[in-house]
């Protein structure tokens, strides 16, 4: 006999365990793919909301909509220019869409626009909106999958 019975059993156990390990890796990889997709969306939504409340871009206000104080000659983070905010509309970024922006107070939600699609995620930011009078509010940025 080339192999002893022990060697055969050991080989069978080894093959079985390799198969189990392969299956476990496969399921791990599938989970990771799903998680990565979800985290990509979360990071995108975080970055987009961060851009809106920290930068100013008059031509493309989704890149930044903060207020410019002409007296102090500077912008103020988390202080939103109501005019620029109202100019933000649905924007397609390929895999993701900016599908809505709303303002939430204690008892109501008021949408600037709302075109929610599949698998949406909301990031809320605490900001001051500057119009003639300024008000503290919660700004919601809705990001959906294409």
């Amino acid at each position: 006999m080339i192999f002893s019975l022990d060697a055969m059993i050991a080989t069978a156990i080894l093959l079985l365990s390799l198969m189990l390990i392969f299956l476990s890796f496969n399921s791990f990889a599938q989970n990771q793919i799903q998680n990565t997709k979800e985290s990509d969306k979360e990071l995108f939504a975080l970055a987009l909301s961060e851009a809106i409340v920290k930068n100013r871009n008059e031509k493309e206000p989704w890149k930044g909509a903060i207020y410019f104080d002409s007296e102090k000659q500077r912008t103020e983070q988390n202080v939103i220019d109501a005019v620029l905010l109202s100019k933000i509309s649905e924007t397609d970024f390929g895999d993701y869409l900016l599908s809505g922006i709303y303002e939430r107070s204690s008892n109501e939600i008021q949408y600037f626009f709302n075109k929610q699609k599949n698998n949406c995620l909301v990031v809320e930011r605490f900001v001051v909106v500057k119009e003639i009078l300024e008000r503290k509010t919660i700004l919601g940025v809705v990001v959906c999958e294409e």
Binding site: S4, D6, I9, A10, S17, N31, S39, V79, F126, V128
Partner: protein, 114 residues
Amino acid sequence: MKNNGFFSLEALLAFSIIVLLIAVTPINENFSGKDLFAQQKENDLLIVWARNNSGKEEMLKDAELFLKGSKFEITINNEKYLPELNKEGKDVISRGIKRSNKGKIETIRISIQN
């Protein structure tokens, strides 16, 4: 190979390999944006409070509205304005900011329990 014991050397080797392979199998550690979301929320609150020179009551009201049911704690110069969080076994994310209030430097700190 002559088998004198319970297991032969081959079987023992095979078992060792199995144990080794199982030991190196990666554990699924999910990334979650939860911590980043919490940090961002804390930053937002602190920036607005520092800018507006908000008082204690206003801070509590803002945090309750914005954090919607999350447990949090606010301290001003190490003085707590909410019961202490039960931090055992839970992730607590804290951030602080210094502001000048009537010439006095104040440190405002907020902690959110995830």
